[in-house]
């Protein structure tokens, strides 16, 4: 087939012929075509099947408001469902498939739904599939889901990248039709920073689709000339293929730029689409208007489309939807199509005007006061039936019919912040009532329906908008342009018993709306939910106003009283890929690496995500086949000699100032005011409500400088808390805070030989013997021949242990130096699992125990909450409910039969009691296998646990059907007297 319906002229580049396939068949089109225009040029009108009844459909529009002509674009992992053939640009090699049909578009077995339509009226789900109840999930829903639907997913990962970005401007102009171009010229010439966003790949809007002249030249030529001038201005950014999706708070707009959608494959490294957030000081909505159809029986035949679309295809794309064309209108604009098509040499056979008194047109037979009452031709229009003014009916053969029911201004973005549009009788359409503060509206979007009005108001509104922000602009003389009224006489649907389609995407008919009314769903929002009118990809852009007008007629209310449904972003369909942007797979979120990461990788570490950090979990040795082998080995070797663990991830906060000690004394519940210089202390921080918030050690490096450590998870929350205290609670204190978590690479060196190892690293000037550097000591030292470092004698493992910190850039080298120095002691690196095992063996609390519900009392640290001073949480920790006699206490557990095991999360149930919530005695928080003891051990909260040592109880896990008899023991399994860490 060789473009039988191709006309003369148009804005396509005939020197570039593009080959493409639709449903496997090859066609030709030209640069500048959309899939829809190229298919029409090739005499293909049937492009899809409808959602519910699988009715054959062709394009209704020539733009983004398209409900019918949705195709699956591309193949393989780039296949994209529900792409509008009316906006998808043709490229060489493009492949498109129709959707929602089987086995083929022209013969669709599911078309049987159409015959069964009496059973599928609005709300049929709610009535038909009520019983038996069990059938819904197993039978009805799967069948309905199979039968309904649009395109399909490839189920392959999208190979393309999607960007996100941020733009700033004085004036954002949405839409580059006559109003938008006029505004952009005015603002651009005034030197304002302008963004001109246009959904289409050409600037000009309707100027590209009309034969109007501006300033004595063709409208599209004027648009091109204006574009050239705008492009020469550094202060104007022209964004084609960019749809503004939403108007958000404070002048923020969302925009989707389809950067590479018009290419077979994006250029290397370039994004497929970019989702922009635009910060605009002022905005002008120049989004034009969308034509609306008139509903009549079988008005969905392929070949029936909006009158303006028929004109667009002819004038812009040089494609006739058919060789013999008729028009059906209730307004003057519909008559333009007749004149334009006739001028293009298309055979206009009839013009049907619902108005008896409309103007005459010199094309085809003109029937005034008439209506189209039916259309024939299942797979493509071949005949229409007309009811004449005198009541007689007549049939006319034609292959395309243009319908115009008037034009609806694109008010959507004015209403994204809840304002509702008002009804304008003059054009029988909704126009903006109020707008977001920074927005003004010009052109057809504002109801200025003539080209001249759009040009004039675009310039005028730009001047006003810029004046608001202190930029002086002048509106030039409005060029000579078309300035005709539309003269619309509202007419929504033709009375008939047959099915007249209002929402073609959702197969909603006039009858469905009547049924909705009859059954009491009369509010427009109910009408939408009951009938699905206005849902899915087109969001009812062509259907909503006719739908609510019909409802208004039913209820006897006026159209403005009936109102519109809520307008919500996104204005145009947006892929999830664009919303996800670069945040997918391994780039879902940033990674934080510890200073020893590279060394750990070299030593086969298995990493675990702790927040965004990657920490070594364990270091498997050759021959170790199970993680427990590695972890047990690391624990035993550390307790026997020495082990090293990267603890950089723990939060470090530098607290300085003359009131630093006072400050810490207030944020920690235990005493800190008198901590000596060169000493470290364990601190427990409570929330205002008396619940434990975080713990850690804080070292006093000098009179006015402390270094606080926090848990890894709470590094940021604690810093935020401290800043709040500093700035809001006690602004009178002289305290300065800053995070230094990443500035220091910090390693725990633990085990009986840790001192010996460190003596090889720490410079000789510093004595780290037990006498000179006892447990909980700290100091600023030098290592490896002069590098500044910090040493803390603290222990999480319960062993003789130190933590040594060096500037991070030397962290890798330090790790290597420590490992080398430790060789003679059989040093091992240990990961977070071994760290966890050792702290459970020692009975040290961690995040599992400080879980946001527990108090100092629960943790066995009740007496730490000093009553000699005030501190955050101290008072509320005295609440009666937190101090019951049988309060939960943190205690240890071991299985009565040491071969048995149990799980964290198990609940304690007394031996003779039934396992239910009423008998709950507490819960297990941490569990591990202790390689030192040779059996499972656990920490947990038990009611009155401190007084129940030696008793047995049951650890019950009903989820897994586990139950273990456990003995209640001290939480300190290893070295309860603390002799090792003081050695």
């Amino acid at each position: 087939m060789t473009q039988n319906n191709r006309l003369e002229g148009g804005l396509i580049d005939r020197s570039k012929t593009l080959r493409f396939t639709f449903d496997g068949k090859t066609y030709q089109g030209h640069q500048g075509d959309t899939i829809a225009s190229a298919l029409l040029a090739n005499d293909v009108r049937l492009m899809g099947r409808s959602f519910k009844y699988h009715r054959p459909r062709g394009p209704l529009t020539a733009g983004s408001e398209e409900p019918n002509a949705l195709v699956e674009l591309r193949e393989g992992n780039r296949q994209e469902p529900n792409t509008r053939a009316t906006t998808a640009e043709l490229f060489d090699g493009l492949s498109a498939k129709s959707q929602n049909r089987w086995p083929s578009l022209s013969f669709d077995a599911m078309g049987v739904n159409d015959l069964l339509s009496p059973f599928f009226a609005a709300g049929f789900y709610y009535k038909t599939f009520m019983w038996p109840k069990a059938f819904w999930e197993k039978l009805y829903e799967p069948i309905i889901r199979r039968a309904a639907g649009l395109g399909s997913l490839s189920m392959e990962a999208d190979p393309d990248v999607y960007d996100k970005g941020f733009l700033h401007c004085d004036l954002l102009i949405i839409g580059a039709g006559p109003a938008g171009l006029s505004a952009a010229l005015t603002a651009g010439r005034a030197g304002a920073r302008v963004i001109l966003a246009e959904e289409d790949f050409l600037l000009g809007g309707r100027l590209n689709a009309e034969t109007f002249e501006i300033a004595g030249m063709a409208g599209h030529a004027w648009a091109a000339q204006t574009q050239a001038e705008l492009a020469s201005m550094d202060n104007v950014r022209i964004m084609t293929r960019t749809a503004i999706l939403g108007a958000f708070d404070h002048g923020i707009y969302g925009a989707l730029e389809r950067v590479s959608d018009h290419l077979a494959v994006p250029a290397a490294g370039k994004p497929r689409q970019t989702l922009w957030r635009i910060y605009a000081k002022r905005t002008m909505l120049c989004a034009g208007a969308v034509e609306r159809p008139i509903a009549f029986k079988n008005n969905d035949r392929p070949g029936i489309m909006l009158s303006g679309a028929l004109r667009t295809y002819a004038n812009r794309y040089a494609a006739a939807a058919g060789q013999t064309v008729a028009l059906f209108t209730n307004n003057d604009d519909g008559l333009r199509s007749a004149a334009d098509l006739a001028a293009k040499g298309v055979d206009v056979v009839a013009v049907i005007d619902t108005r008896a008194d409309g103007p005459s047109v010199q094309a085809g037979a003109h029937f005034k006061g008439a209506q189209v009452v039916d259309a024939g031709g299942k797979l493509g229009l071949n005949t229409i039936t007309i009811k004449l003014a005198n009541g007689q009916t007549t049939r006319i053969n034609c292959t395309a019919l243009g319908v115009s029911g008037g034009w609806n201004p694109n008010v959507h973005l004015t209403s994204h912040q809840r304002s509702t549009p008002k009804w304008d009788e003059k054009i029988a359409a909704f126009v903006p009532e109020s707008t977001p503060a920074e927005m003004s509206v010009a052109g057809a979007a504002n109801g200025d329906m003539s080209t001249h009005a759009a040009l004039a108001n675009g310039a005028k509104q730009a001047v006003t908008a810029l004046k608001d922000i202190g930029i002086k602009a002048t509106a030039g003389r409005t060029p000579k342009a078309e300035d005709e009224p539309i003269n619309v006489s509202p007419f929504w649907y033709v009375e008939h018993k047959g099915r007249a389609w209002v929402d073609q995407q959702n197969d909603v008919t006039v009858k469905d709306i009547k049924l909705s009314h009859q059954e009491g769903f009369r509010s427009v929002e109910h009408l939408k939910r009951y009938t699905t009118l206005g849902m899915a990809t087109d969001q009812g852009k062509t259907a909503n106003v006719p739908g609510l007008a019909i409802m208004a007629e039913m209820t006897g209310k006026s159209i403005p009283d009936t109102g519109t449904t809520m307008f919500r972003p996104p204005y145009a369909p947006t892929s999830f890929g664009a919303f996800a942007g670069r945040h997918r797979d391994e780039d879902f979120r940033p990674i934080r690496k510890t200073p020893s990461h590279k060394w750990a990788e070299e030593h086969d570490a298995v990493f675990v995500e702790t927040g965004m950090w990657l920490r070594a979990q364990w270091f498997p040795k050759p021959g170790e086949t199970h993680w427990r082998e590695s972890v047990d080995r690391e624990v035993l070797a550390t307790r026997k000699s020495v082990g090293i663990c990267d603890v950089t991830t723990l939060g470090k906060i530098d607290v300085q100032g003359t009131d630093a000690a006072t400050f810490l004394n207030r944020v920690y519940c235990n005493a800190f005011a008198k901590l000596a210089v060169g000493k470290t202390r364990y601190g427990l921080m409570l929330r205002e409500d008396g619940i434990a918030m975080d713990d850690g050690t804080t070292a006093r490096l000098s009179e006015n400088q402390f270094v606080m450590t926090t848990t890894t998870a709470n590094a940021v929350p604690v810093f935020r808390h401290l800043e709040f205290c500093r700035q809001c609670a006690w602004p009178d204190l002289d305290v300065q805070l800053i995070s230094t978590t990443e500035a220091w690479a910090q390693y725990a060196v633990a085990g009986p030989n840790s001192r010996k190892l460190l003596q090889k690293i720490v410079d000789k000037d510093f004595d780290i013997s037990n006498e000179e550097f006892p447990f909980m000591g700290c100091g600023e030292i030098t290592v490896c021949g002069g590098l500044r470092a910090r040493l803390f004698r603290i222990s999480f493992s319960g062993e003789l242990a130190f933590e040594i910190a060096v500037p991070t850039r030397y962290g890798d080298s330090m790790m290597r130096a420590l490992m080398e120095a430790g060789e003679e002691f059989d040093v091992v690196p240990y990961g977070t699992e071994a760290l966890g095992v050792m702290r459970i063996e020692k009975g040290h609390a961690a995040g599992n125990e400080l879980n946001g519900t527990t108090t100092a009392l629960n943790l066995g640290m009740g007496r730490m909450v000093s009553k000699k001073k005030d501190s955050i949480g101290s008072t509320l920790s005295e609440r009666e409910g937190l101090n019951q006699a049988d309060a939960l206490n943190l205690v240890g557990f071991k299985p009565v039969n040491s071969d048995e095991t149990f799980s964290a999360g198990s609940h304690f149930i007394n031996s003779d009691a039934q396992a239910n919530a009423a008998n709950d005695q507490g819960y297990m928080t941490s569990v591990c296998y202790s390689p030192n003891l040779g059996h499972t051990i656990g920490l947990g909260y038990l009611k009155d646990g401190a007084n129940r040592m030696g008793e047995t109880t049951r650890a019950v896990n009903p989820l897994m059907g586990e139950e273990t008899e456990v003995e209640i023991v001290s939480a300190h399994f290893i070295d309860p007297e603390g002799e090792r860490l003081r050695a």
Partner: protein, 190 residues
């Protein structure tokens, strides 16, 4: 340079800093700077100002600004707090150097290890940054400095030369992710 046996690694984990050229944009990893934060203590504005004059001999930059003189570049980071940058070769122990000048009039914290720095140079700097952060970098003048977020990573952005040359400071632990984000965005435009 200090004399000791430990060898530094760059934030990206190599011996030598990375330099990547994408089109007309150059992204350079910098590890030749030392870094400290300096905060004025309460009631010490006079000795602080005097020490600042001795140490830097420049007007301390206000919000959104940086200032340079000799070895030092400062940018404002929060009320009465600045970040100070100086060459690593001569100022590795920057905190001690500044402490000697400011004594008890300021709280000074070494930050050299906490941060990585990537320099963006070339015409595509602004269009690259547009894809990364909400800052209006096209309007940043020479020496403008601000705080922002790039792909969830908190950063400082200092404009060295309007439209052409920016330094991005981010947390060292995320240097790899930050660099990846910069390179990916640059490939989209440069």
């Amino acid at each position: 340079m200090l004399k000791h046996s430990l060898k530094p690694l760059t934030p990206l984990g190599s011996d030598e800093p990375d330099s990547t050229v994408i089109g007309n944009l150059k992204i350079t990893e910098r590890d030749d700077f030392s870094f400290a934060s300096i905060a004025q203590r309460d009631g010490k504005s006079r000795p602080f100002a005097a020490a600042a004059k001795r140490a830097f001999n420049l007007k301390l930059p206000g919000p959104g600004q940086s200032a340079s003189n000799g070895d030092y570049t400062l940018f404002w980071s929060s009320p009465e707090q600045w970040f100070v940058e100086a060459p690593m070769a001569t100022h590795e122990d920057i905190a001690s150097i500044l402490k000697a000048e400011f004594e008890e009039s300021a709280s000074i914290t070494e930050q050299s290890g906490g941060w990585c720095r990537f320099d963006l140079e070339g015409d595509a700097s602004v269009s690259t940054l547009e894809r990364l952060c909400a800052v209006d970098t096209a309007m940043m003048t020479d020496q403008a400095a601000t705080r922002s977020v790039i792909e969830h990573i908190g950063v400082f952005i200092v404009c060295r030369s309007a439209g052409q040359y920016f330094s991005i400071y981010g947390p060292r632990s995320s240097a790899g992710s930050l660099h990846h984000a910069l390179v990916s965005a640059a490939k989209s435009v440069a």
